[in-house]
């Protein structure tokens, strides 16, 4: 019952947050200098062309009416049309979201498979060479900027002939092999940073649990290391790891601008970047709102799962100790 009430409270809070975010997004977009008609028409356009474009894009309406139309459309599932392509926002997103979702999902899989074991090894062998390597790899992964790694990979694969082409994206429906092939490099680049972050947090979480009295008591009782890890460390370290993984999922789903741009993958990140440059308001507003919603929902799910994992969170309604 407590969990249900807690969940209802969180959902209501999320809705209020989203409403506030929508106002911020709308205001931010309108405060950006330059608008779509200036940009697309260019300086040489005639006044008649300009007037036509302004009317066609609805930018001649009062600002409050523009907001109400947008938010009303969001609530009824009508997200409007892209100024540039004149295709519905829903259709544009439907073509790009699966790409970003696939990249995000596969990156998370790689991250979990590599990052968590690496973090455990770093923690359990904190004083040895394995721990040092783990720390070094984590520091390196966090430090190397995505654009640098992506640029190096682009150069390397095109020069060394590794059988991977850069920028040859194809949709899953057209060519599944090429689709996944085109995602290999983006996933590698994203995974480096994500693995580093997860490994680092896993290491810290495990180290924190290892010094807890109940773990030390287990050691004193003579329980085997594997038993201690399985029964006392894993579950207790899971909550902070889950939190960081949840944040990574949200960030990845929100769009991975740099890798999508460099590797020419048509996902949400590169699309949002292009839309920002063109002041394609309908795309920007809905994409950012969607990213905010993803972030909020992911945080909600992480909290719910954390509650399920850690009984202490349940008892306190979300606040641990």
């Amino acid at each position: 019952m407590i969990v249900v009430l807690w969940s209802i409270r969180r959902v209501l809070a999320a809705l209020v947050t989203l409403a506030g975010v929508s106002v911020l997004i709308f205001a931010s977009v309108r405060l950006m200098p330059g608008d779509y008609t200036d940009l697309v028409l260019g300086p040489l356009a005639t006044e008649a062309q300009r007037a036509l474009a302004v009317a066609a894009s609805g930018l001649d309406l009062p600002i409050p009416e523009q907001y109400l139309r947008w938010i009303g459309g969001v609530l009824t599932g009508d997200l409007g049309y892209s100024f540039v392509s004149n295709v519905s926002v829903t259709e544009e997103f439907a073509a790009r979201l699966p790409v970003t979702a696939t990249i995000a999902a596969l990156t998370v899989v790689v991250t979990l498979l590599v990052g968590i074991p690496l973090g455990f090894v770093s923690a359990l062998r904190a004083e040895g060479s394995a721990g040092a390597v783990g720390r070094f790899v984590s520091a390196l992964g966090i430090s190397v900027p995505e654009f640098l790694l992506a640029g190096l990979l682009v150069f390397a694969v095109s020069t060394l002939g590794l059988g991977i082409s850069v920028g040859q994206y194809s949709s899953f429906a057209e060519d599944p092999g090429r689709f996944f092939g085109s995602l290999v490099l983006p996933i590698v680049v994203l995974s480096v940073g994500c693995v580093a972050v997860v490994a680092r947090n896993t290491r810290d979480a495990v180290l924190n649990v290892l010094v807890e009295p109940h773990v030390q008591a287990s050691v004193a009782r003579g329980e085997t290391p594997m038993f201690i890890i399985r029964h006392h460390v894993l579950r207790n370290a899971a909550v902070p790891i889950l939190t960081i993984v949840g944040a990574l999922v949200a960030v990845l789903l929100g769009g991975t601008v740099i890798v999508e741009f460099v590797f020419n993958v048509p996902g949400m990140g590169s699309y949002l970047q292009t839309a920002l440059g063109r002041r394609d308001y309908n795309i920007i507003q809905n994409a950012v709102l969607l990213a905010a919603a993803v972030f909020i929902v992911t945080a909600l799910v992480v909290d719910l799962v954390s509650n399920a994992i850690d009984p202490r969170l349940r008892l306190t309604g979300g606040s641990r100790r």
Binding site: M32, P33, G34, D35, T37, D38, L39, V40, L41, G42, P43, L44, A45, T46, E47, A48, Q49, L52, A53, A56, S82, V84, S85, N86, V87, E92, A95, S129, V133, F136, V137, L148, G151, L152, V154, F155, A156, V157, S158, T159, G161, S165, V166, G167, Q168, Y169, F261, V262, F263, N264, P266, S270, Y271, T274, L276, G277, R278, R279
Partner: protein
């Protein structure tokens, strides 16, 4: 220990790759070749080369026009190129930038205000309907009646009439020398007027032309796919089965695609790309001269109050070292220009302009007289070369006591500051398409005709009159004199200051593609001779 060794080797490999990638760019950039393989051509397709393959071209950005796919409202060179694959014009331009027959097989000029066009008898729209004189009349009339950017370039048209089954007569109110060149660009394309008037085709969303290709698919900002127009006279001899145009924003990715063979041809933005590709097998990079040119706006209306003084503006103009811009930014691959694009017939000689003396002492004296200047210089990030030009100008102006702060912003922000009323900048860099006739671009120096420039420049009645004279004087020595006057007046007024031509850098995979590329281009159409391309 083994892990450490492996990690060390990996790091070393990455560092070596980074160094390999940077070495060429850090030294003097070896300019892409501009060597002509035949007079006027950077490359000529080999008729015996394998043909029938899929042609893949990568470009940096997609067409995005408020008028959708309607070619008449197309305002950017990218739209002209892509839509020019599907549409054709009455005239075209050849490798010497001279006007040549297009859909008009020939023409006569009974007087200096009348043009009688004889239309090609084999032009057929991709829906199978032959082009008629009514399509030509309707298209030009539509362009004349709908005020778009290109309407002004067509000149003072009085009437457009079908004077035969395959004959159209256009009458002007006064002589206008650029008329035939203005007809050669995509906005003057011949449209399927019967279908447009019947409402069976919406040309803002669908392209239907007489050109060699038909757009079969388009995903905005991602990809175009074109297939042959089976009704085109060159359909049977096309050297490729399909054309895919990939939109790839990152320059390094386009260079990589050339290197690994996944693109047959790519448009590059930087001459440094030639360095990056210098070791690549089967890749050739060439510089195509363009009539487009970079220019500096000096805001005499909304900028620093001192900029209202012509002497101050001329001091800034004469302090700029155009040769240094050419050498440092373009690796010496381009040329200094005046208002009329260098290289076009009758264009003025930039070395004869007053500013070319580059009298730094006189310029410094003029700036000292106003107590020195602190100016901002606005550039937009979409065109990285502008920031490089800005740095040279910043150093040049420092020599005469002007402190310049460079502001890099996205194009929307730039547009909001430069073209808004009131404008909000001191100096700004941009570029103009130079077109195929030297008088066409001079229009923009008349703020009343141009419109957009009226927020930052006042112009003068002398300059406006000189521009009008340059447009109406027949090509030849007399026009060269008239255009020299335009250049001289614009140079002295120094409100829009031409700098250097803006070349295109083109890379192609010689193992897969045998293209025909002209050494000069007037409308940014790298694919002008696509019907001659052959892909194995």
């Amino acid at each position: 220990m083994r892990t450490r060794t492996t990690a060390g080797a990996a790091i070393t490999a990455i560092a070596l790759l980074a160094l390999t990638g940077c070495t060429g760019a850090s030294g003097p950039a070896p300019a892409a070749t501009s060597e002509e393989v035949a007079p006027g051509f950077l490359a000529v397709a080999d008729d015996t080369a394998p043909a029938g393959g899929e042609l893949v071209v990568q470009v940096d950005y997609d067409t995005a026009e408020a008028g959708g796919l309607d070619p008449q409202s197309a305002a950017t060179a990218r739209s002209w190129m892509l839509e020019g694959l599907v549409y054709e014009t009455l005239t075209t331009i050849d490798e010497n930038l001279a006007v040549a027959p297009g859909l008009a097989a020939s023409w006569e000029t009974p007087s200096d205000t009348q043009y009688v066009f004889t239309l090609a008898d084999d032009a057929v729209f991709s829906n199978g309907r032959p082009m008629t004189a009514a399509d030509v009349v309707g298209s030009l009339q539509r362009l004349r009646d709908t005020p778009v950017t290109w309407t002004g370039q067509l000149g003072p048209i009085v009437s457009i009439e079908a004077t035969g089954d395959l004959e159209v007569t256009v009458t002007l109110s006064e002589p206008y020398t650029p008329f035939l060149a203005a007809l050669a660009n995509t906005p003057a394309a011949i449209l399927p007027m019967a279908e447009i008037e019947a409402g069976t085709v919406d040309i803002t969303t669908e392209m239907l032309g007489t050109g060699p290709l038909v757009a079969s698919a388009h995903r905005q900002d991602e990809q175009w796919t074109f297939v042959p127009n089976e009704h085109h006279p060159d359909a049977a001899s096309l050297g490729f089965s399909t054309l895919t145009v990939d939109i790839v924003g990152d320059e390094a990715t386009r260079a990589a695609a050339l290197r690994d063979g996944s693109a047959d041809l790519a448009i590059l933005n930087s001459t440094d790309s030639a360095s990056l590709l210098s070791g690549a097998a089967d890749v050739r990079v060439a510089t195509q001269r363009n009539t487009d040119f970079h220019y500096l706006m000096i805001n005499s209306i909304g900028g620093d109050p001192a900029l209202a003084d012509e002497k101050v503006r001329f001091a800034l103009n004469s302090a700029i070292d155009r040769d240094a811009i050419n050498a440092l930014v373009f690796g010496g691959s381009t040329a200094v220009t005046g208002v009329t694009p260098a290289g076009l017939p009758d264009s003025c000689d930039p070395s004869e302009l007053a500013s070319s003396a580059r009298d730094v002492a006189a310029a410094k004296s003029a700036i000292d007289a106003v107590g020195g200047l602190d100016l901002n210089l606005l550039v937009y990030t979409d065109e990285p070369v502008l920031a490089q030009i800005a740095q040279v100008i910043q150093q040049n102006l420092a020599e005469i006591g002007v402190t310049v702060s460079i502001e890099q912003v996205d194009y929307a922000t730039y547009s909001g500051k430069v073209y808004a009323d009131p404008s909000d900048f001191d100096l700004a860099l941009s570029w103009f398409a130079g077109y195929a006739d030297p008088a066409m671009v001079t229009t923009w120096w008349n703020p009343t005709l141009a419109g957009f420039s009226s927020v930052y420049m006042t112009g003068s009645s002398d300059l406006n009159a000189a521009i009008a004279t340059g447009a109406s004087t027949p090509a030849g020595e007399e026009r060269a004199t008239a255009l020299a006057e335009v250049c001289d007046l614009a140079d002295r007024q120094s409100e829009m200051v031409p700098l250097v031509l803006r070349p295109s850098t083109i890379g192609w995979n010689t193992a897969e593609l045998s293209p025909t590329l002209t050494a000069d281009e007037g409308y940014g159409n790298v694919l002008r001779h696509i019907t001659e391309f052959r892909v194995g």
